[in-house]
Symmetry: C2
Subunit: 297 residues, 2 copies
Protein backbone atom coordinates (compact mmCIF):
# COMPACT_ATOMS: atom_id res chain seq x y z
CA UNK A 1 0.00 0.00 0.00
CA UNK A 2 3.01 2.32 0.24
CA UNK A 3 3.08 3.30 -3.44
CA UNK A 4 1.34 5.78 -5.72
CA UNK A 5 -0.93 8.39 -4.17
CA UNK A 6 -1.53 8.42 -0.45
CA UNK A 7 -4.11 11.15 0.15
CA UNK A 8 -4.05 12.98 3.50
CA UNK A 9 -7.39 14.68 4.17
CA UNK A 10 -8.04 17.35 6.74
CA UNK A 11 -10.04 16.31 9.78
CA UNK A 12 -12.45 19.25 9.87
CA UNK A 13 -14.03 20.56 13.03
CA UNK A 14 -17.00 22.81 13.64
CA UNK A 15 -18.11 24.62 16.78
CA UNK A 16 -19.62 21.31 17.92
CA UNK A 17 -16.34 19.38 17.56
CA UNK A 18 -15.31 16.83 14.92
CA UNK A 19 -17.26 17.54 11.71
CA UNK A 20 -18.08 14.00 10.67
CA UNK A 21 -20.19 14.96 7.67
CA UNK A 22 -17.49 17.25 6.31
CA UNK A 23 -14.89 14.51 6.80
CA UNK A 24 -17.07 12.01 4.92
CA UNK A 25 -17.38 14.49 2.04
CA UNK A 26 -13.58 14.69 1.85
CA UNK A 27 -13.28 10.90 1.91
CA UNK A 28 -15.84 10.55 -0.88
CA UNK A 29 -13.69 12.68 -3.18
CA UNK A 30 -10.64 10.53 -2.42
CA UNK A 31 -12.39 7.23 -3.07
CA UNK A 32 -13.93 8.62 -6.28
CA UNK A 33 -10.48 9.58 -7.53
CA UNK A 34 -9.07 6.15 -6.70
CA UNK A 35 -6.18 7.06 -4.43
CA UNK A 36 -3.91 4.15 -3.52
CA UNK A 37 -4.22 4.77 0.20
CA UNK A 38 -5.63 7.30 2.66
CA UNK A 39 -3.50 8.86 5.38
CA UNK A 40 -5.92 9.41 8.24
CA UNK A 41 -5.11 11.87 11.03
CA UNK A 42 -1.82 13.02 9.54
CA UNK A 43 -0.39 16.41 10.42
CA UNK A 44 -2.90 18.19 8.19
CA UNK A 45 -5.41 15.73 9.60
CA UNK A 46 -4.81 17.41 12.97
CA UNK A 47 -4.17 14.23 14.96
CA UNK A 48 -2.32 16.21 17.60
CA UNK A 49 -5.45 18.20 18.46
CA UNK A 50 -7.82 15.31 19.16
CA UNK A 51 -8.31 13.08 22.18
CA UNK A 52 -7.69 9.34 22.08
CA UNK A 53 -11.43 8.70 21.95
CA UNK A 54 -11.88 11.15 19.07
CA UNK A 55 -8.96 9.64 17.19
CA UNK A 56 -10.47 6.17 17.47
CA UNK A 57 -13.83 7.43 16.24
CA UNK A 58 -12.23 9.32 13.34
CA UNK A 59 -10.33 6.17 12.30
CA UNK A 60 -13.58 4.19 12.39
CA UNK A 61 -15.36 6.75 10.25
CA UNK A 62 -12.48 6.74 7.76
CA UNK A 63 -12.55 2.96 7.57
CA UNK A 64 -16.31 2.91 7.03
CA UNK A 65 -16.04 5.37 4.13
CA UNK A 66 -12.75 4.32 2.51
CA UNK A 67 -14.31 1.62 0.35
CA UNK A 68 -11.59 -0.70 -0.89
CA UNK A 69 -8.82 1.82 -0.29
CA UNK A 70 -6.49 0.90 2.58
CA UNK A 71 -6.14 3.40 5.40
CA UNK A 72 -3.00 4.34 7.30
CA UNK A 73 -3.63 5.96 10.68
CA UNK A 74 -1.19 8.21 12.49
CA UNK A 75 -0.43 7.11 16.05
CA UNK A 76 1.86 9.97 17.03
CA UNK A 77 1.99 11.07 20.68
CA UNK A 78 4.58 12.34 23.13
CA UNK A 79 4.48 9.26 25.37
CA UNK A 80 5.30 5.73 24.25
CA UNK A 81 2.44 4.34 26.32
CA UNK A 82 0.01 6.53 24.43
CA UNK A 83 1.48 5.52 21.06
CA UNK A 84 0.86 1.88 21.94
CA UNK A 85 -2.73 2.56 23.00
CA UNK A 86 -3.38 4.53 19.82
CA UNK A 87 -1.90 1.70 17.77
CA UNK A 88 -4.29 -0.77 19.40
CA UNK A 89 -7.20 1.55 18.69
CA UNK A 90 -6.21 2.12 15.07
CA UNK A 91 -5.78 -1.58 14.38
CA UNK A 92 -9.10 -2.35 16.07
CA UNK A 93 -10.67 0.25 13.77
CA UNK A 94 -9.32 -1.60 10.77
CA UNK A 95 -6.22 0.40 9.86
CA UNK A 96 -4.05 -1.46 7.35
CA UNK A 97 -0.98 0.57 8.32
CA UNK A 98 0.24 2.98 10.99
CA UNK A 99 2.19 6.21 10.66
CA UNK A 100 4.56 7.13 13.50
CA UNK A 101 6.19 10.54 13.94
CA UNK A 102 8.59 10.84 16.90
CA UNK A 103 6.70 13.71 18.51
CA UNK A 104 8.83 15.22 21.24
CA UNK A 105 8.40 17.46 24.24
CA UNK A 106 11.79 17.08 25.86
CA UNK A 107 14.21 16.91 22.91
CA UNK A 108 14.92 13.24 22.17
CA UNK A 109 18.15 11.35 21.66
CA UNK A 110 18.54 8.94 18.73
CA UNK A 111 18.50 5.94 21.05
CA UNK A 112 15.18 7.07 22.50
CA UNK A 113 13.60 7.39 19.06
CA UNK A 114 14.99 4.02 18.04
CA UNK A 115 13.49 2.44 21.14
CA UNK A 116 10.14 4.08 20.40
CA UNK A 117 10.01 2.50 16.93
CA UNK A 118 11.34 -0.78 18.26
CA UNK A 119 8.64 -0.91 20.95
CA UNK A 120 5.89 -0.14 18.47
CA UNK A 121 7.18 -2.75 16.02
CA UNK A 122 6.88 -5.38 18.77
CA UNK A 123 3.24 -4.52 19.40
CA UNK A 124 1.73 -4.36 15.91
CA UNK A 125 0.45 -6.69 13.24
CA UNK A 126 0.31 -4.17 10.38
CA UNK A 127 3.11 -2.30 8.59
CA UNK A 128 4.41 1.00 9.91
CA UNK A 129 5.56 4.10 8.06
CA UNK A 130 8.26 6.23 9.67
CA UNK A 131 7.09 9.84 9.65
CA UNK A 132 9.98 12.29 9.42
CA UNK A 133 8.85 15.89 9.95
CA UNK A 134 11.32 17.92 12.03
CA UNK A 135 9.17 21.04 11.83
CA UNK A 136 6.35 19.52 13.85
CA UNK A 137 8.14 16.82 15.86
CA UNK A 138 11.26 18.75 16.84
CA UNK A 139 13.37 15.69 15.96
CA UNK A 140 15.85 15.36 13.09
CA UNK A 141 16.69 11.86 11.83
CA UNK A 142 20.19 10.89 10.79
CA UNK A 143 20.64 8.45 7.91
CA UNK A 144 22.15 5.98 10.36
CA UNK A 145 18.96 6.07 12.41
CA UNK A 146 16.82 5.63 9.28
CA UNK A 147 18.80 2.48 8.54
CA UNK A 148 18.53 1.10 12.08
CA UNK A 149 14.78 1.66 12.19
CA UNK A 150 14.34 0.21 8.68
CA UNK A 151 15.88 -3.03 9.96
CA UNK A 152 13.07 -3.48 12.50
CA UNK A 153 10.10 -5.73 11.69
CA UNK A 154 6.99 -4.08 10.23
CA UNK A 155 8.76 -0.86 9.17
CA UNK A 156 7.97 -0.56 5.46
CA UNK A 157 8.08 3.05 4.33
CA UNK A 158 9.45 6.46 5.17
CA UNK A 159 7.50 9.68 4.80
CA UNK A 160 10.27 12.17 4.14
CA UNK A 161 10.04 15.90 4.69
CA UNK A 162 10.06 18.20 1.66
CA UNK A 163 13.28 18.07 -0.33
CA UNK A 164 15.21 20.67 -2.29
CA UNK A 165 13.62 21.82 -5.53
CA UNK A 166 16.84 21.05 -7.43
CA UNK A 167 16.23 17.85 -9.43
CA UNK A 168 19.92 16.92 -9.39
CA UNK A 169 20.15 17.22 -5.61
CA UNK A 170 16.95 15.28 -5.08
CA UNK A 171 18.09 12.51 -7.44
CA UNK A 172 21.35 12.21 -5.55
CA UNK A 173 19.50 12.08 -2.24
CA UNK A 174 17.05 9.39 -3.41
CA UNK A 175 19.91 7.28 -4.82
CA UNK A 176 21.67 7.59 -1.48
CA UNK A 177 18.60 6.49 0.46
CA UNK A 178 17.84 3.57 -1.88
CA UNK A 179 21.39 2.35 -1.34
CA UNK A 180 21.02 2.74 2.42
CA UNK A 181 17.63 1.18 3.03
CA UNK A 182 16.32 -2.35 2.39
CA UNK A 183 14.40 -2.87 -0.85
CA UNK A 184 11.30 -3.71 1.21
CA UNK A 185 11.17 -0.08 2.35
CA UNK A 186 9.46 2.43 0.06
CA UNK A 187 10.43 6.09 -0.09
CA UNK A 188 7.64 8.62 0.18
CA UNK A 189 7.86 12.26 -0.69
CA UNK A 190 5.88 14.87 1.17
CA UNK A 191 6.06 18.63 1.18
CA UNK A 192 3.78 18.92 -1.85
CA UNK A 193 5.93 21.48 -3.65
CA UNK A 194 8.72 18.94 -4.03
CA UNK A 195 6.45 16.02 -4.95
CA UNK A 196 7.00 16.20 -8.71
CA UNK A 197 10.75 16.38 -8.35
CA UNK A 198 10.69 13.58 -5.79
CA UNK A 199 8.54 11.27 -7.91
CA UNK A 200 10.73 11.91 -10.95
CA UNK A 201 13.77 11.04 -8.84
CA UNK A 202 12.29 7.64 -7.98
CA UNK A 203 10.14 8.12 -4.89
CA UNK A 204 7.59 5.30 -4.72
CA UNK A 205 4.75 7.22 -3.14
CA UNK A 206 3.50 10.75 -2.59
CA UNK A 207 2.15 11.35 0.91
CA UNK A 208 0.03 14.19 -0.30
CA UNK A 209 -1.77 17.02 1.45
CA UNK A 210 -3.02 18.28 -1.92
CA UNK A 211 -4.39 14.78 -2.58
CA UNK A 212 -6.51 15.04 0.55
CA UNK A 213 -8.61 17.78 -0.99
CA UNK A 214 -7.80 17.70 -4.72
CA UNK A 215 -7.24 13.98 -5.25
CA UNK A 216 -7.82 14.08 -9.02
CA UNK A 217 -5.08 16.65 -9.56
CA UNK A 218 -2.71 14.70 -7.33
CA UNK A 219 -3.61 11.36 -8.92
CA UNK A 220 -2.81 12.73 -12.38
CA UNK A 221 0.73 13.39 -11.13
CA UNK A 222 1.29 9.97 -9.55
CA UNK A 223 -0.25 8.28 -12.61
CA UNK A 224 2.20 10.12 -14.85
CA UNK A 225 5.02 9.08 -12.51
CA UNK A 226 3.99 5.43 -12.73
CA UNK A 227 4.12 5.74 -16.53
CA UNK A 228 7.62 7.26 -16.20
CA UNK A 229 6.35 10.36 -17.99
CA UNK A 230 8.70 12.74 -16.23
CA UNK A 231 7.84 15.69 -18.46
CA UNK A 232 4.17 15.38 -17.59
CA UNK A 233 4.91 14.99 -13.88
CA UNK A 234 6.95 18.18 -14.01
CA UNK A 235 4.34 20.05 -16.04
CA UNK A 236 1.41 19.05 -13.81
CA UNK A 237 3.31 19.83 -10.63
CA UNK A 238 4.50 23.20 -11.91
CA UNK A 239 0.94 24.09 -12.89
CA UNK A 240 0.18 23.94 -9.17
CA UNK A 241 2.95 26.40 -8.25
CA UNK A 242 0.41 29.07 -7.18
CA UNK A 243 -0.95 26.59 -4.64
CA UNK A 244 2.54 25.75 -3.35
CA UNK A 245 3.21 29.49 -3.09
CA UNK A 246 0.17 29.86 -0.83
CA UNK A 247 1.47 27.03 1.39
CA UNK A 248 4.75 28.86 1.66
CA UNK A 249 3.07 32.20 2.38
CA UNK A 250 0.96 30.81 5.20
CA UNK A 251 3.59 28.82 7.08
CA UNK A 252 2.57 25.42 5.72
CA UNK A 253 -0.31 23.76 3.99
CA UNK A 254 -2.84 23.30 6.77
CA UNK A 255 -4.44 26.75 6.99
CA UNK A 256 -4.59 27.02 3.19
CA UNK A 257 -6.23 23.63 2.75
CA UNK A 258 -8.71 24.40 5.52
CA UNK A 259 -9.62 27.63 3.75
CA UNK A 260 -9.94 25.81 0.43
CA UNK A 261 -12.23 23.18 1.93
CA UNK A 262 -14.45 25.97 3.20
CA UNK A 263 -14.39 27.75 -0.18
CA UNK A 264 -15.56 24.54 -1.85
CA UNK A 265 -18.40 24.23 0.65
CA UNK A 266 -17.15 20.91 1.93
CA UNK A 267 -16.60 22.14 5.49
CA UNK A 268 -17.36 25.19 7.58
CA UNK A 269 -15.32 28.24 6.62
CA UNK A 270 -13.59 27.90 9.99
CA UNK A 271 -12.77 24.19 10.25
CA UNK A 272 -9.50 24.19 12.22
CA UNK A 273 -9.15 23.12 15.86
CA UNK A 274 -8.03 25.90 18.21
CA UNK A 275 -5.51 27.33 18.82
CA UNK A 276 -5.16 27.19 15.01
CA UNK A 277 -7.05 30.05 13.41
CA UNK A 278 -8.50 30.27 9.92
CA UNK A 279 -7.04 32.58 7.31
CA UNK A 280 -8.39 36.11 7.16
CA UNK A 281 -11.23 36.92 4.77
CA UNK A 282 -8.77 38.56 2.40
CA UNK A 283 -6.38 35.58 2.41
CA UNK A 284 -9.30 33.20 1.97
CA UNK A 285 -10.37 35.20 -1.08
CA UNK A 286 -6.88 34.76 -2.51
CA UNK A 287 -7.14 31.00 -1.95
CA UNK A 288 -10.49 31.00 -3.74
CA UNK A 289 -8.99 32.90 -6.66
CA UNK A 290 -6.05 30.50 -6.96
CA UNK A 291 -8.12 27.33 -6.91
CA UNK A 292 -10.58 28.80 -9.41
CA UNK A 293 -7.74 29.92 -11.67
CA UNK A 294 -6.17 26.45 -11.49
CA UNK A 295 -9.48 24.79 -12.25
CA UNK A 296 -9.28 22.81 -9.01
CA UNK A 297 -12.60 21.53 -7.77
CA UNK B 1 2.48 33.16 45.41
CA UNK B 2 4.68 34.15 42.47
CA UNK B 3 7.74 35.15 44.50
CA UNK B 4 10.68 33.44 46.16
CA UNK B 5 11.25 29.75 45.51
CA UNK B 6 8.84 27.82 43.32
CA UNK B 7 10.02 24.22 43.44
CA UNK B 8 9.36 22.01 40.42
CA UNK B 9 9.58 18.33 41.36
CA UNK B 10 9.88 15.43 38.97
CA UNK B 11 6.82 13.25 38.57
CA UNK B 12 8.51 9.87 38.83
CA UNK B 13 7.23 6.74 37.16
CA UNK B 14 7.98 3.06 37.69
CA UNK B 15 7.20 0.06 35.53
CA UNK B 16 3.67 0.19 37.00
CA UNK B 17 3.06 3.82 35.98
CA UNK B 18 2.99 6.97 38.13
CA UNK B 19 5.13 6.38 41.25
CA UNK B 20 2.92 7.99 43.85
CA UNK B 21 5.10 7.06 46.82
CA UNK B 22 8.21 8.46 45.18
CA UNK B 23 6.34 11.66 44.30
CA UNK B 24 5.18 12.06 47.92
CA UNK B 25 8.80 11.66 49.08
CA UNK B 26 9.81 14.52 46.79
CA UNK B 27 6.94 16.70 48.03
CA UNK B 28 7.91 16.02 51.66
CA UNK B 29 11.38 17.45 51.04
CA UNK B 30 9.88 20.58 49.50
CA UNK B 31 7.43 21.22 52.32
CA UNK B 32 10.16 20.59 54.90
CA UNK B 33 12.37 23.21 53.22
CA UNK B 34 9.51 25.72 53.14
CA UNK B 35 9.37 26.57 49.45
CA UNK B 36 7.03 29.44 48.58
CA UNK B 37 5.14 27.41 46.00
CA UNK B 38 5.26 24.07 44.20
CA UNK B 39 5.19 23.79 40.43
CA UNK B 40 3.34 20.56 39.77
CA UNK B 41 3.64 18.81 36.42
CA UNK B 42 6.09 21.28 34.94
CA UNK B 43 8.39 20.28 32.12
CA UNK B 44 10.63 18.32 34.47
CA UNK B 45 7.41 17.13 36.05
CA UNK B 46 6.70 15.41 32.74
CA UNK B 47 3.18 16.74 32.23
CA UNK B 48 3.40 16.09 28.51
CA UNK B 49 3.79 12.34 29.09
CA UNK B 50 0.68 11.77 31.22
CA UNK B 51 -2.99 11.36 30.36
CA UNK B 52 -5.63 13.81 31.50
CA UNK B 53 -6.78 11.34 34.16
CA UNK B 54 -3.22 10.87 35.43
CA UNK B 55 -2.65 14.62 35.50
CA UNK B 56 -5.73 15.16 37.61
CA UNK B 57 -4.67 12.44 40.02
CA UNK B 58 -1.13 13.81 40.26
CA UNK B 59 -2.50 17.29 41.03
CA UNK B 60 -4.70 15.81 43.76
CA UNK B 61 -1.77 13.98 45.31
CA UNK B 62 0.32 17.14 45.21
CA UNK B 63 -2.43 19.13 46.88
CA UNK B 64 -2.88 16.51 49.60
CA UNK B 65 0.83 16.57 50.42
CA UNK B 66 1.70 20.24 49.91
CA UNK B 67 0.68 21.31 53.39
CA UNK B 68 0.21 25.07 53.47
CA UNK B 69 2.31 25.64 50.36
CA UNK B 70 0.27 26.77 47.32
CA UNK B 71 0.50 24.62 44.20
CA UNK B 72 0.66 25.78 40.60
CA UNK B 73 -0.34 23.14 38.06
CA UNK B 74 0.73 23.11 34.43
CA UNK B 75 -2.16 22.84 31.97
CA UNK B 76 -0.14 22.71 28.76
CA UNK B 77 -1.55 20.81 25.77
CA UNK B 78 -1.59 21.16 22.00
CA UNK B 79 -5.34 21.81 21.77
CA UNK B 80 -7.16 24.70 23.40
CA UNK B 81 -10.06 22.43 24.32
CA UNK B 82 -7.72 20.19 26.25
CA UNK B 83 -6.09 23.16 28.01
CA UNK B 84 -9.53 24.22 29.24
CA UNK B 85 -10.39 20.74 30.47
CA UNK B 86 -7.03 20.47 32.26
CA UNK B 87 -7.62 23.87 33.84
CA UNK B 88 -10.99 22.69 35.20
CA UNK B 89 -9.36 19.56 36.57
CA UNK B 90 -6.48 21.44 38.20
CA UNK B 91 -8.78 23.96 39.85
CA UNK B 92 -11.05 21.17 41.05
CA UNK B 93 -7.97 19.51 42.57
CA UNK B 94 -7.25 22.70 44.49
CA UNK B 95 -4.56 24.37 42.42
CA UNK B 96 -3.98 27.97 43.50
CA UNK B 97 -2.44 28.86 40.15
CA UNK B 98 -2.03 27.50 36.63
CA UNK B 99 1.00 27.42 34.36
CA UNK B 100 0.41 27.64 30.61
CA UNK B 101 3.04 26.93 27.95
CA UNK B 102 1.92 27.43 24.33
CA UNK B 103 2.73 23.88 23.28
CA UNK B 104 2.60 23.64 19.52
CA UNK B 105 2.36 20.96 16.87
CA UNK B 106 1.75 23.10 13.82
CA UNK B 107 3.90 26.19 14.38
CA UNK B 108 1.72 28.92 15.88
CA UNK B 109 1.25 32.56 14.97
CA UNK B 110 1.31 35.27 17.66
CA UNK B 111 -2.42 35.86 17.30
CA UNK B 112 -3.11 32.19 17.93
CA UNK B 113 -1.05 32.18 21.12
CA UNK B 114 -2.70 35.40 22.28
CA UNK B 115 -6.13 33.85 21.74
CA UNK B 116 -5.08 30.73 23.67
CA UNK B 117 -4.14 32.83 26.72
CA UNK B 118 -7.20 35.01 26.29
CA UNK B 119 -9.50 31.98 26.18
CA UNK B 120 -7.92 30.46 29.28
CA UNK B 121 -8.14 33.76 31.15
CA UNK B 122 -11.89 33.82 30.51
CA UNK B 123 -12.34 30.35 32.00
CA UNK B 124 -10.35 30.49 35.25
CA UNK B 125 -10.72 31.77 38.77
CA UNK B 126 -7.05 31.49 39.80
CA UNK B 127 -3.98 33.35 38.53
CA UNK B 128 -2.04 32.11 35.55
CA UNK B 129 1.69 32.10 34.86
CA UNK B 130 2.83 32.43 31.26
CA UNK B 131 5.36 29.67 30.58
CA UNK B 132 7.93 30.68 27.97
CA UNK B 133 10.11 27.75 26.91
CA UNK B 134 10.84 27.75 23.16
CA UNK B 135 12.92 24.57 23.41
CA UNK B 136 9.95 22.44 24.38
CA UNK B 137 7.01 24.40 22.97
CA UNK B 138 8.49 25.38 19.62
CA UNK B 139 7.14 28.91 20.10
CA UNK B 140 9.15 32.09 20.65
CA UNK B 141 7.45 35.06 22.35
CA UNK B 142 8.03 38.63 21.28
CA UNK B 143 8.05 41.35 23.91
CA UNK B 144 4.96 42.83 22.29
CA UNK B 145 3.13 39.55 22.83
CA UNK B 146 4.32 39.39 26.46
CA UNK B 147 2.76 42.81 26.97
CA UNK B 148 -0.52 41.93 25.28
CA UNK B 149 -0.91 38.75 27.31
CA UNK B 150 0.07 40.55 30.53
CA UNK B 151 -2.88 42.89 29.99
CA UNK B 152 -5.34 39.99 30.19
CA UNK B 153 -7.14 39.23 33.47
CA UNK B 154 -5.58 36.58 35.74
CA UNK B 155 -2.14 36.66 34.09
CA UNK B 156 0.23 37.35 36.98
CA UNK B 157 3.70 36.02 36.25
CA UNK B 158 6.02 34.97 33.47
CA UNK B 159 8.32 31.96 33.68
CA UNK B 160 11.16 33.04 31.43
CA UNK B 161 13.61 30.72 29.74
CA UNK B 162 17.24 30.73 30.89
CA UNK B 163 19.02 34.01 30.26
CA UNK B 164 22.57 34.90 29.37
CA UNK B 165 25.15 34.39 32.09
CA UNK B 166 26.36 37.98 31.69
CA UNK B 167 25.04 39.95 34.69
CA UNK B 168 25.05 43.23 32.74
CA UNK B 169 22.99 41.74 29.91
CA UNK B 170 20.55 40.13 32.31
CA UNK B 171 20.14 43.35 34.28
CA UNK B 172 19.37 45.24 31.09
CA UNK B 173 16.86 42.59 30.07
CA UNK B 174 15.07 42.59 33.42
CA UNK B 175 14.91 46.40 33.46
CA UNK B 176 13.42 46.27 29.96
CA UNK B 177 10.77 43.74 30.99
CA UNK B 178 9.86 45.60 34.18
CA UNK B 179 9.29 48.71 32.10
CA UNK B 180 7.19 46.75 29.64
CA UNK B 181 4.95 44.75 31.95
CA UNK B 182 2.42 45.85 34.58
CA UNK B 183 3.65 45.92 38.18
CA UNK B 184 1.12 43.19 39.03
CA UNK B 185 3.14 40.77 36.92
CA UNK B 186 6.15 39.07 38.53
CA UNK B 187 9.20 37.98 36.59
CA UNK B 188 10.40 34.44 37.16
CA UNK B 189 13.76 33.07 36.16
CA UNK B 190 14.19 29.48 35.10
CA UNK B 191 17.08 27.67 33.52
CA UNK B 192 18.73 26.97 36.86
CA UNK B 193 22.21 28.00 35.75
CA UNK B 194 21.07 31.59 35.27
CA UNK B 195 18.97 31.73 38.44
CA UNK B 196 21.54 33.52 40.58
CA UNK B 197 22.20 36.14 37.94
CA UNK B 198 18.47 36.54 37.34
CA UNK B 199 17.61 36.95 41.02
CA UNK B 200 20.41 39.47 41.46
CA UNK B 201 19.03 41.39 38.49
CA UNK B 202 15.63 41.68 40.16
CA UNK B 203 13.64 38.59 39.21
CA UNK B 204 10.91 38.03 41.79
CA UNK B 205 10.83 34.27 41.73
CA UNK B 206 12.93 31.27 40.76
CA UNK B 207 10.94 28.57 38.97
CA UNK B 208 13.42 25.96 39.99
CA UNK B 209 14.14 22.44 38.82
CA UNK B 210 16.94 22.18 41.38
CA UNK B 211 14.43 23.20 44.04
CA UNK B 212 12.26 20.24 43.13
CA UNK B 213 14.89 17.81 44.40
CA UNK B 214 17.29 19.94 46.46
CA UNK B 215 14.92 22.51 47.95
CA UNK B 216 17.22 23.50 50.82
CA UNK B 217 20.04 24.45 48.47
CA UNK B 218 17.64 26.39 46.27
CA UNK B 219 15.92 28.07 49.22
CA UNK B 220 19.26 29.32 50.53
CA UNK B 221 19.69 31.16 47.23
CA UNK B 222 16.22 32.74 47.13
CA UNK B 223 16.54 33.64 50.84
CA UNK B 224 19.79 35.45 50.13
CA UNK B 225 18.12 37.20 47.19
CA UNK B 226 15.28 38.39 49.41
CA UNK B 227 17.89 39.82 51.77
CA UNK B 228 19.51 41.55 48.78
CA UNK B 229 22.73 39.71 49.56
CA UNK B 230 23.92 39.58 45.97
CA UNK B 231 27.36 38.27 46.88
CA UNK B 232 25.87 35.29 48.69
CA UNK B 233 23.42 34.61 45.85
CA UNK B 234 26.33 34.54 43.43
CA UNK B 235 28.48 32.39 45.68
CA UNK B 236 25.78 29.83 46.40
CA UNK B 237 24.76 29.61 42.76
CA UNK B 238 28.34 29.26 41.54
CA UNK B 239 28.93 26.49 44.06
CA UNK B 240 26.38 24.53 42.07
CA UNK B 241 28.20 24.98 38.77
CA UNK B 242 29.08 21.27 38.57
CA UNK B 243 25.35 20.50 38.66
CA UNK B 244 24.60 23.10 35.97
CA UNK B 245 27.41 21.55 33.90
CA UNK B 246 25.68 18.16 34.10
CA UNK B 247 22.41 19.75 32.90
CA UNK B 248 24.28 21.17 29.97
CA UNK B 249 26.04 17.89 29.20
CA UNK B 250 22.83 15.90 29.14
CA UNK B 251 20.67 18.19 27.03
CA UNK B 252 18.73 19.72 29.92
CA UNK B 253 17.97 19.05 33.53
CA UNK B 254 15.42 16.28 33.38
CA UNK B 255 17.58 13.20 32.88
CA UNK B 256 20.10 14.45 35.44
CA UNK B 257 17.47 15.13 38.10
CA UNK B 258 15.86 11.76 37.45
CA UNK B 259 19.23 10.07 37.94
CA UNK B 260 19.86 12.09 41.11
CA UNK B 261 16.46 11.12 42.54
CA UNK B 262 17.37 7.49 41.95
CA UNK B 263 20.82 7.93 43.50
CA UNK B 264 19.19 9.37 46.63
CA UNK B 265 16.86 6.36 46.82
CA UNK B 266 13.77 8.56 46.49
CA UNK B 267 12.60 6.95 43.24
CA UNK B 268 13.48 3.96 41.11
CA UNK B 269 16.81 4.30 39.29
CA UNK B 270 14.78 4.47 36.08
CA UNK B 271 11.97 6.90 36.85
CA UNK B 272 11.38 8.62 33.48
CA UNK B 273 8.38 8.01 31.22
CA UNK B 274 9.25 6.50 27.83
CA UNK B 275 10.47 7.43 25.30
CA UNK B 276 12.81 9.26 27.71
CA UNK B 277 15.59 6.96 28.83
CA UNK B 278 17.63 7.13 32.03
CA UNK B 279 21.29 8.07 31.96
CA UNK B 280 23.81 5.27 31.51
CA UNK B 281 25.34 3.63 34.59
CA UNK B 282 28.55 5.60 34.01
CA UNK B 283 26.74 8.94 33.70
CA UNK B 284 24.63 8.14 36.75
CA UNK B 285 27.82 7.49 38.68
CA UNK B 286 29.07 10.94 37.67
CA UNK B 287 25.81 12.47 38.93
CA UNK B 288 26.27 10.62 42.22
CA UNK B 289 29.81 11.93 42.52
CA UNK B 290 28.76 15.51 41.86
CA UNK B 291 25.90 15.57 44.36
CA UNK B 292 28.11 13.92 46.98
CA UNK B 293 30.90 16.39 46.33
CA UNK B 294 28.46 19.32 46.61
CA UNK B 295 27.02 17.96 49.82
CA UNK B 296 23.55 17.87 48.26
CA UNK B 297 21.17 15.51 49.99
Amino acid sequence: MFTGLSAFPLTPVSAAGFDERGFIRLLARITAAGADSIGVLGSTGCYAYFTRKQRRHIAEVAKAHAGEIPIMVCVGAVSTDKVLRLAEDAQAAGAQALLLPPVSYQPLYEEEVFELFSTLSQHVSVPVCLYDNPRTTGFTFSDALYARIASLPFIRSVKMPGLSSSPAEVQARIRQLKALLPATMTLGISGDASAGVGLNAGCDVWYSVCGGLFPQAAKAITDAAQQNDTARVRQLSEQLNPLWALFSKHGGSIRVMAAAAGVLGLTAADCLPRPLRPLSARDTEEVATVIRHLGLQ
